[in-house]
Amino acid sequence: MAKTMETTTGATNVSTVTMGKALNLALHDALQNDSRVLIFGEDVGKLGGVFRVTDGLQDEFGAERVFDTPLAEATIAATALGLAMKGFRPVAEMQFDAFSYPSFQQVTSNIAKYHTRTGGACNMQLVIRIPYGGNIGAIEQHSESPETYYIHTAGLKVVTPSTPADAYALLTAAIADPDPVIFLEPKSRYWMRQEIALPMPPAALDKARIAREGSDATVIAYGPTVQTALAAAEQAAAEGTSLEVIDLRSLSPLDMETISASVRKTRRAVVVHEAPVFMGLGAEIAARVMHDLFDVLAAPVERIGNATIPYPPARVEKLFLPDADRILEAVDRTREY
């Protein structure tokens, strides 16, 4: 993890950090500001997590607040549930996307339903952090985009940042929110750098962000694909096309107001994610946008994502990942329609 460059300006602390470091700072500040926050998972202690997101936290806050667990994701999630009932604010880590699947039953059948099941008496104030997505040259099972599984499960809030600043603001908000939040971290963007200023105003958990304004078409992205969409917009601008880029931030619920307002303006939309197109989040967005703006749209909504195959081997993954070219081709399809 790169060193941060800190400049203290009055009460504000400005520094250029990676997304990994921004997450680390958010966890740090949460531990510091709320004695009920606990962090646990596999290798989050001395190692600081395989992506170093929890680096130094055990040293500073002790092994009663930041601790390693046995290798058992179902029980990591269930432990978060039990601790939340005891009034703690657990932040549990799943080491990689595919390794959140063992916890699927606990998350879907218990965490998502516990507030309902207790007639609203028990808040599930907990966060499950999951590094996700591909494009890091990894072996099998380390590049999955599991968002559909969580988004479709009512009772969960699902968010994902695309920048260091949002990483900090969203994680802080997720920890403070009384409901269970699946916090998806785009691992290919852990090393992305940005200047952030702390303290930061709290982020809304259910609001999208216009990452770039434009007028000719809307590109809807989240997590790892926002930078890709911005790169495409840059390229398009050079060619005289103005793309608006929406960073969803919240995958469940969807901020349809922001999306609709943008598409109402541009009349064209492309949704971009790494997950397979088939039943990816693009399906819901495309269905809603085309439903709600049927007469406004100049062309059907385009979707970009993986093919209907298991995530491919690293040496060919780039061909299955969204890139600027594929986004621009999709934009062209909406413009040439």
Binding site: P70, A74, L83, K86, Q105, K113, T118, G119, P178
Partner: protein
């Protein structure tokens, strides 16, 4: 470096081990309370110092529970409940264990632990609204220190581990009890929870209500080895007790909870009992077991055994029996009345329960739902 969360050094520590033919002599003082049949020895009974009044309370709660169970069956047959899961045969295990926990302790039940809920003071009529299909959650867990019934088998076990870990971190002298059937021990969650509990040395009593059946699957096709013995593999003790003897269950669970509160870690109690009824009212046990299978367990009826214990103490007479029986009748009637008078919740309330901090989109969805509903309801 901060002091690590106190985990036992599993490599160094010698796990408690059983003798050649019984896990009940595991060298721990709780196992020593039991005879070869898993029943409290006379000596241990004296040492446990359980008063006649306490035993009468246990008896009373068992009789009431049995009657409520019967009323559940009645109500289901009369079409007032969608489903009923009888717990007859479990009274000693449930009442003994629940009453052994201090009121400040927490209990994480499984779906059959109705009698435990009754012991905790939850209104039976309210509990029953779950089986009438009115609600998924009929009580406030924080009020009764009693978690909700959990349907996916085994999944509540690690919840209890997490909660118990919280108790340990809060140093608040609370022990936790978790109930589950022997079928639940086949699940991955059960094992993960056993190991977690041991690694973190949490104050948790695992109570297996081994009723010999998981729907139609008998114990021998479900579990290999003895459940009580499994604890040793995790480095903590376990005992198999006669789960039809309320005094034994009460004394053993109380000792295990005390031990847990002293920081000595988890304990496993396997309470052997029998599911004398169908799995639920949807089940047809004649397809997989005979009367002859059930017969031997009739002599092990928890209520009769408790009555005998009271008689032996000269603490049982007709007046008492009569009073208890009347109380049971009254409570069954009250339960029925409460149940039948319970309102169906407004369907839109389902939207309110999902989140503590619902997003606007859900509130809008609720409004649309109500709008779509109203004309229909008006019809």
């Amino acid at each position: 470096m901060a002091k690590a969360l106190d985990t036992k050094d599993a490599r160094e520590a010698k796990p408690p081990r059983g003798s050649a033919d019984s896990s009940n002599n595991s060298g721990d003082s709780i196992a020593a309370m039991l005879d070869a049949n898993g029943v409290l020895t006379a000596e241990a009974e004296r040492a446990a110092n359980i008063s006649d009044e306490e035993l009468r309370t246990l008896y009373r709660l068992m009789v009431v529970s049995r009657r409520l169970d019967q009323e559940g069956l009645n109500l289901q047959r009369q079409g007032e409940l969608g489903l009923w899961g009888p717990y007859a045969g479990h009274e000693a295990a449930q009442v003994g264990a629940a009453m052994a926990m201090a009121p400040t302790d927490w209990i994480f039940p499984y779906y059959r632990d109705f009698a435990m809920a009754v012991c905790r003071g939850i209104d039976p009529g309210a509990i029953m609204t779950i089986f009438r299909g009115l609600t998924h959650g009929a009580w406030n867990p924080n009020e009764y220190r009693f978690a909700p019934f959990i349907i996916p088998v085994g999944t509540q076990v690690p919840h209890a581990v997490g909660f118990a870990l919280g108790c340990k971190l809060d140093h608040d002298d609370t022990a936790v009890l978790v109930g589950f059937g022997e079928g639940a021990t086949s699940t991955g969650d059960w094992h993960e929870a056993m190991n977690f509990a041991a690694v973190f040395n949490v104050p948790l009593v695992f109570l297996c209500e081994n009723n010999q059946w998981a729907i139609s699957v008998p114990m021998r096709q479900q579990v290999s080895g003895r459940i009580a013995d499994r604890a040793a593999g995790y480095g903590f003790p376990g005992v198999r007790v006669d789960g039809t003897d309320v005094l034994t269950v009460y004394a053993v669970v109380r000792a295990a909870a005390d031990r847990a509160r002293r920081g000595e870690g988890p304990y496993l109690v396997e309470a052997l009992t029998y599911r004398t009824q169908a799995h639920t009212t949807s089940d047809d046990p004649t397809r997989y077991r005979t009367e002859a299978d059930v017969e031997p367990w009739k002599s092990k009826d928890p209520i009769r055994r408790c009555a005998e214990r009271l008689q032996a103490r000269n603490a049982f007479d007709d007046a008492f029996a009569q009073a208890v029986s009347e109380e049971a009748e009254q409570r069954a009637l009250a339960m029925r009345q409460h149940l039948l008078s319970a309102q169906t919740p407004h369907p839109a309330s389902a939207f309110d329960l999902v989140f503590a901090n619902p997003p606007e989109s859900l509130l809008r969805e609720k409004a649309e739902f109500i709008e779509a509903l109203e004309p229909e309801r008006g019809e």
